[in-house]
């Protein structure tokens, strides 16, 4: 089953319509549920990042994503809140570009991924950032991720370039490796911390 929350779901009202959880704004203060979309060129490691985060696995044999895959993972933060990520891992191929809004519409978080060994994928990441700025939710939390950090000897995009671009666009930046698991959990924990909390009033 795609979605196995480690924490009992509080809100089980029927959902209708939209690729969004119906209660996007109806989270209680201790249990957040957020829609997260991964965007980026095909082959940069989006699926590997998700599978590392959700299942703790890394499978080097490439399995090209078709359409988009849906996975969930819940994490507990130190202040005892839990965040359930409903993750859309998109395909990133050109033929699906026109359909991307289907997946990022209403997303609270967008993770834009590139491959540090590929300047083209970095350019593609910038395309996605612009697209999200134009068409995404206005208060979307965006993260810029340079993946395959384990391949540092083949690096072609410098850390500084990543930091600079992220800063200019108000994004959170991190380099990860799905292969070694480096910074994968940190990525999602950082995102969780930056989420707007529902007011307690």
């Amino acid at each position: 089953m795609g979605c196995s929350a480690s924490v009992p779901e509080k809100n089980t009202t029927g959902r209708l319509g939209g690729l969004n959880p119906d209660n996007g704004g109806a989270n209680d203060t201790k249990n957040l549920r957020v829609k997260l979309v991964l965007l980026g060129d095909s082959g940069v490691g989006k699926s590997c990042i998700v599978l590392r985060f959700v299942r703790g696995q890394f499978d080097p044999t490439s399995k090209v994503t078709v359409g988009a895959s849906f996975l969930c993972q819940t994490i507990a933060l130190q202040d005892s809140t839990t965040v359930k990520f409903e993750i859309w891992d998109t395909a990133g191929q050109e033929r699906y570009a026109a359909l991307a809004p289907l997946y990022y519409r209403g997303a609270a978080v967008a993770v834009v991924v590139y491959d540090i060994t590929s300047p083209e994928s970095f350019a593609k990441a910038q395309y996605w950032v612009k697209e999200l700025q134009k068409h995404g939710s206005p208060d979307i939390v965006m993260a810029l991720v340079g993946n395959k950090a384990d391949l540092h000897e083949k690096r072609e995009v410098s850390v500084q370039d990543g930091i600079d671009y992220a800063e200019k666009n108000g994004m959170f930046f991190i380099e990860t490796s799905a292969k070694t698991a480096d910074n994968i959990n940190q990525l999602f924990e950082e995102i969780a911390k930056r989420l707007p909390r529902p007011s307690t009033s």
Binding site: M1, G2, C3, G14, R15, L16, G17, G18, L19, P21, D22, S42, S47, L51, K63, V64, T65, V66, G67, A68, S69, F70, L71, D89, A91, Q93, E94, R95, Y96, L99, L102
Partner: protein
């Protein structure tokens, strides 16, 4: 290498080599040269790899078989049948284009003439001695024997460090580094290409599309040359190679093959290949060519090589590709009904089609209101899902097009695997109903688990299906109300799957080896499980090719509603019986008695009737909602 510029006509029946050479356009010359060199290289005596020598032998073996088909005769059940209706399998159109194009390589489709000759021969049931073919001996001497390679459309597995027994089929594009200058590329027995009308490569089964730009341009040139003359090229023959063309608006499809499959079969395969492309992109891709004739489509198909290569692979093992029917996983009637009921429950609420599948077989399917699902769409959809590994990883939501349902628009598919073999596809027109479909799946899954459908499916995979050894002895003498059931325990040696023992000369009753029964009204077929002596995948493929040829010859235009065909060669006795309700294709031991074989076929039909509610999806024919 000896230059053999005339090889293109060397074994053609009615080509008129070079009689009007002055009229031949340069583009025709060019393609002839290309094709001739492919032909030459596959005959080349100067091969270096052992594996390649093996391939040459294999090909000779096939050729030898063909010659034998000419020599060895068949009797027909009914003297009128057989000879008629199988002669002119290729329409006049193309013969016309031949004479206009003056191409020396274009001849009538060859296997139809084989059939004609075979049935015209008056010597009935020639004695079969090993020496009458010389074939058995040759087979013995070819080092790989039956174990070579399950996909002998290609040359031996040159890059596979000699693991000749391996039957594992690898998905995805193979040999991507080849191009039309590679010896190995030229030796492939079956090529498939897609290109645009401006000559840009779109897809090639072997080799990198971009490196094949020159070859694509050549193909494009010959197509447009003939099209400009008001004709359409359909078939060119160059030596042992058939080149089949299919024009679909701005997209051209080409198959180059020396497998001796009938023209109609190869054309059907190109149609499916085109349909698979439509599944991924919809027919609105044509608009891109209207805007920009030089539009490059390859990037749009990124990551889909596995989908196409798996489809092409299925041309040699999945009879659904030529029968245009689907098959069901054998299941107890109650089990299938339980599955159908819960699918029916969910369908309608925004779900257009719900399909529960196990591998390429249907467990149950339902459609909303009057919506109907074409068997070819089922084939292409399940091929797409099964060959895209990512669907197995997690539940997915993907745009998808059903070419026979509506080639212009995307539907949205929710795909979820319950286990490694069993998956659910929910199709909807609404792009934002993911959560609804997910909830539906959760409800469906609960019911399937509660009613043990999923475990029954696993059981059927292990011991389900029709095993010819179980053919009831005399169905006529039993009361009609007693129905036999499938999946009863049988000796472990007969366990399904690929039976690898080398036990020869067995089979079912009266020499029955295998059968396929296709129900016309249901659009479904059932195929008996393979058992000795059809053990290896290579033998299975050969049998399918024989059925395919039989199917093509039975489906020529101008044939009556009732037809039978009986033919005998050194491999099998093949019996085909076509009525308004069903088609039966059966293979027997080559020494089987004809009268007994006919009787056995009647028993098979009774048997199928007896167990029809286990092997077919009844009352839910896609065309009768």
């Amino acid at each position: 290498m000896p230059s053999d510029s005339n090889s293109s006509s060397s074994d053609s029946d009615d080509g008129n080599p070079n009689s009007n050479a002055g009229n031949i356009d340069q583009s025709l010359d060019a393609i002839e040269n290309q094709l001739a060199s492919i032909t030459m290289s596959s005959r080349s005596p100067t091969t270096t790899f052992d594996e390649e020598e093996e391939v040459v032998e294999e090909e000779e073996e096939e050729e030898e078989q063909l010659l034998d088909q000419l020599r060895i005769t068949n009797g027909s059940l009914n003297e009128k049948l057989g000879a008629e209706g199988v002669v002119d399998s290729v329409d006049d159109d193309y013969v016309e284009s031949i004479s206009k194009a003056e191409s020396s390589g274009v001849i009538k489709e060859s296997s139809s003439s084989v059939w004609r000759n075979a049935s015209e021969a008056d010597e009935a049931e020639a004695p079969l001695t090993p020496s009458s073919s010389g074939y058995a001996g040759e087979r013995g001497s070819s080092s790989g024997g039956d174990e070579i390679n399950d996909d002998d459309d290609e040359i031996g597995e040159v890059e596979n460090d000699g693991v000749s027994g391996s039957h594992e089929w690898v998905s995805g594009k193979r040999h991507p580094n080849e191009d039309d200058a590679s010896v190995s590329w030229r030796k492939r027995k079956k090529h498939f290409f897609m290109l645009s009308h401006s000559g840009k490569p779109i897809y090639s089964r072997y080799g990198d599309e971009h490196k094949l730009a020159g070859f694509s341009a050549t193909l494009q040139a010959i197509i447009s040359f003939v099209e400009n003359g008001g004709d359409r090229v359909k078939l060119v023959r160059a030596g042992k190679h058939q080149v089949v063309f299919l024009v679909k608006g701005p997209i051209y499809l080409v198959c180059i093959s020396c497998t001796e499959e009938p023209y109609e079969s190869l054309k059907g395969q190109l149609e499916l290949l085109y349909g698979q492309m439509i599944v991924i992109l919809t027919k609105s891709i044509n608009r891109c060519f209207e805007k920009n004739p030089k539009f490059d489509m390859t990037s749009l198909l990124g990551g889909t090589d596995a989908v196409f290569s798996s489809l092409i692979h299925s041309f040699s093992w999945n009879p659904a590709t030529f029968l245009h029917a689907y098959s069901c996983l054998p299941l107890a009637h109650a089990t299938r009904q339980a599955a159908g009921a819960i699918l029916q429950d969910t369908a309608g609420s925004g779900i257009l089609f719900a399909l529960l599948m196990c591998k390429h077989k249907v467990i149950s399917l339902v459609g909303a209101q009057k919506a109907s699902l074409h068997p070819d769409d089922i084939l292409l959809l399940s091929n797409f899902v099964m060959s895209s590994e990512s669907f197995r990883t997690s539940e997915s939501f993907s745009p998808i097009c059903l070419p026979r349902y509506n080639a212009m628009a995307f539907l949205y598919a929710y795909v979820h695997y319950f286990d490694v073999d069993t998956y659910l596809i929910l199709l909807t027109t609404s792009s934002d109903s993911f959560y609804h479909l997910k909830d539906s799946r959760i409800r469906i899954e609960a019911v399937l688990l509660k009613s043990n459908v999923l475990s029954e499916v696993q059981r059927s995979l292990v011991d389900g299906g029709m095993h010819i050894q179980d053919l009831p002895v005399d169905p006529a003498s039993r009361p009609a109300t007693v129905s036999s059931h499938l999946g009863q325990p049988r000796p472990a040696a007969d366990s399904p799957g690929r039976n690898r023992d080398t036990f020869v000369g067995i089979g079912g009753p009266d020499g029955l080896w295998h059968f396929i029964y296709r129900s016309i009204y249901l659009d479904q077929y059932v195929s008996s499980e393979f058992s000795s002596p059809i053990n290896s995948s290579r033998q299975q493929k050969r049998l399918y090719r024989a059925y395919q040829r039989l199917y093509a010859s039975m489906h020529d235009q101008g044939s009556g509603p009732h037809k039978t065909q009986f033919r005998r060669d050194e491999n099998y006795v093949l019996l085909c019986w076509v009525t308004q309700d069903f088609e039966l294709y059966a293979a027997f031991d080559p020494l089987a008695d004809k009268a007994l074989a006919i009787k056995t076929c009647n028993r098979v039909c009774h048997w199928v009737k007896d167990v029809e509610n286990e092997i077919f999806l009844l009352g839910a024919s896609p065309f009768s909602w």
